[in-house]
């Protein structure tokens, strides 16, 4: 049997060669083959060192090297094209339908408070003041008092703001769902009640036409996206409660896969909404045109979610 020092002296050159090859940024062709050969040899060395007890330091060094070589040689499964645009386009509506329960709950969690806020602000004096700070209410009033609502900062600035703010909210609404759904519930209810109250307040102040023609274009995308990202959050939160016989960890992993598609789809919806809100909603276009576009948008969202990706479902 070799002593440790003899063993190290014999194998050291190969380990060094492998280290150098791995340090080079991209391995290609001949280098990959050489790495593979050296890695296989290293695998044997790793097992030998483990079984012979050649010392923890040597084992750690070989483990680290093996880990790097393994990481270089093997790819994660379904890496290529797994996240392709076409697949997203198909999977997103399919998953919305598959998890219709969560979508339904999220819809209620958003629209019930919305209706409550709307009704409260419309019919109960002083309600809006309880929900929103007076400065916000005042700002909205002056904002929508103008018959043509033009954002102050210019269209591009507003587009940037809508992306930063709205997509950020949707992502947070999803992520905090992991707290047994609590975060998603909070964001859905909070946004529902503040938005509903805002609408109610502006309408009660007599600027209903302005706010509705402004919002009708982008709302189908924006509000659907908030609901869906909330549904994705509820899904991962629920995966912790009802594990379906798996460990909580595995259940979370499984839920994460489909929730990811939902939240990314919601993000894309919000980008579309930001585009509409910045460049269309405030555009000086006659009201009927805006309402027609709003109707088409609503129809598109509903049709896409109801019918998108059907052919694949039938085959599967």
């Amino acid at each position: 049997m070799k002593t440790r020092d003899e063993f190290v002296a014999e194998r050291e050159p190969r380990w060094r060669e492998l280290e150098q090859l791995l340090a080079a940024s991209v391995a290609q062709g001949e280098a990959t083959r050489r790495i593979a050969a050296l890695y296989r040899a290293l695998s044997a060395d790793v097992m030998q060192v483990r079984s012979l007890g050649f010392g923890a330091d040597l084992r750690r060094r070989l483990d680290a090297l093996a880990s790097r070589a393994h990481n270089c040689l093997y790819r994660a499964p379904e890496r290529e094209g797994s996240f392709a645009f076409r697949e997203m386009l198909r999977d997103f509506p399919r998953l919305v339908r598959q998890h219709w329960g969560f979508v339904a709950v999220a819809t209620l969690l958003f629209w019930l408070p919305f209706a409550l806020g709307l009704a409260g602000a419309l019919f109960r004096p002083g309600f809006a003041e309880h929900v929103l700070p007076p400065e916000t209410l005042e700002a909205m009033n002056t904002w929508y008092a103008k018959s043509e609502v033009r954002p102050d900062g210019g269209d591009s600035a507003m587009a940037g703001f809508y992306v930063y703010n709205n997509v950020g909210i949707a992502f947070r609404c999803f992520a905090t769902g992991i707290l047994f759904g609590a975060g998603s519930i909070f964001f859905l209810v909070f946004n529902g009640i503040t938005l509903g109250t805002s609408f109610g307040w502006v309408i009660a102040n007599g600027h209903g036409r302005n706010i509705l023609t402004y919002c009708c274009g982008h709302s189908p995308f924006e509000l659907t996206a908030i609901v869906i990202s909330g549904a994705a959050g509820l899904q991962i939160g629920f995966a912790l409660l009802d594990t379906g016989g798996l460990s909580r960890r595995s259940s979370l992993l499984r839920a994460g896969r489909s929730a990811l598609v939902l939240v990314v789809g919601a993000g894309v919806f919000l980008l579309v909404a930001a585009g509409f809100e910045a460049f269309w909603s405030a555009a000086p276009v006659p009201d009927p045109v805006k309402w027609v576009v709003a109707g088409l948008n609503t129809l598109f969202v509903l049709a896409y979610l109801a019918l998108g990706g059907r052919s694949r479902e039938r085959r599967a």
């Binding site: 790793v46 097992m47 330091d57 093996a66 880990s67 797994s82 900062g153 591009s156 994460g256 896969r257």
Partner: protein
């Protein structure tokens, strides 16, 4: 650090089985290392933003007179740096961000494979909740409670962060001064250690330079009396005694 199958070692490492039917252990990155990497990434992100703003204002896009284009770009940049920085880094640098690269850390799937877009997007979206209630407290707590130092994002994406860096191995053992004939004669012809004992002595010998003389003596005294009793030997210097036994174990007499 020895593992005998029945007792897993208490260690910041996790085992990965490979198609070659071997198993190697990955050293996991703890909260402190990851916090440090996070700080470096924070600096990089700040620098990216400052750079972008500088370019934008240099091009006359910022300020009172300019249109909203500059503001729009600034907010988009803020969004991209907030939500896309880590995903872009991990994708193009195979599981590393600049901070992680600086500290020799890498995100891998829990089977040791490189992470893909899905894993990266998931674990980085969940940063929003790991950050709560402020300064990554929730993520840090989860990391401390989890056996593999995973924050919530890692749990959902099925990833963990490993320490890469190549480890230096300790120098070969040289018995100096060379054993005298009397010393060798006093030793038994064969000494059989358990793997643990051999490992311990081996490690002690290799760490000679790093230890002070009294500490070396102290460590050697933990094992020397037991071995002396086993073979009915006497010794004056426990360090020398262990070194001689180790010498005999690795250089057995020709029979």
């Amino acid at each position: 650090m020895l593992q005998d199958g029945r007792h897993a070692a208490i260690d910041t490492a996790t085992d990965i089985d490979t198609p070659e039917r071997t198993r190697f252990s990955c050293r996991l990155a703890g909260p402190a290392q990851r916090a440090f990497a996070y700080l470096i990434d924070g600096l990089v992100r700040g620098a990216i933003l400052v750079g972008l703003f500088a370019v934008a204002s240099g091009a006359g896009l910022m300020g009172q007179t300019a249109s909203g284009l500059g503001q729009g770009i600034a907010l988009l940049a803020l969004f991209v740096v907030d939500w896309c920085y880590y995903v872009a880094c991990e994708l193009f640098m195979n599981g590393q961000s600049f901070g992680k690269r600086a500290l020799g850390l890498r995100v891998v799937c829990n089977n040791g494979l490189p992470i893909g877009l899905r894993e990266s997007v998931l674990r980085n979206l969940l940063r929003a909740v790991d950050f709560l209630p402020l300064w990554n407290v929730l993520g840090g707590l989860t990391m401390c409670l989890d056996g593999q130092f995973r924050r919530l994002g890692d749990l959902v994406a099925g990833t963990f962060v490993v320490v890469e860096g190549s480890e230096a191995i300790l120098p070969p053992i040289a018995l100096s001064p060379a054993p005298t004939l009397e010393e060798l004669r006093a030793l038994p012809a064969r000494v059989a250690f358990s793997a643990e004992e051999l490992d311990a002595i081996d490690h002690l010998m290799r760490r000679k330079q790093a230890l002070s003389r009294p500490r070396e003596q102290e460590l050697a005294s933990l094992l020397a009396p037991r071995l002396a009793q086993r073979w009915n030997l006497t010794y004056t210097d426990p360090v020398r005694f262990l070194a001689l036994l180790h010498h005999r174990a690795t250089h057995p007499l020709a029979t």
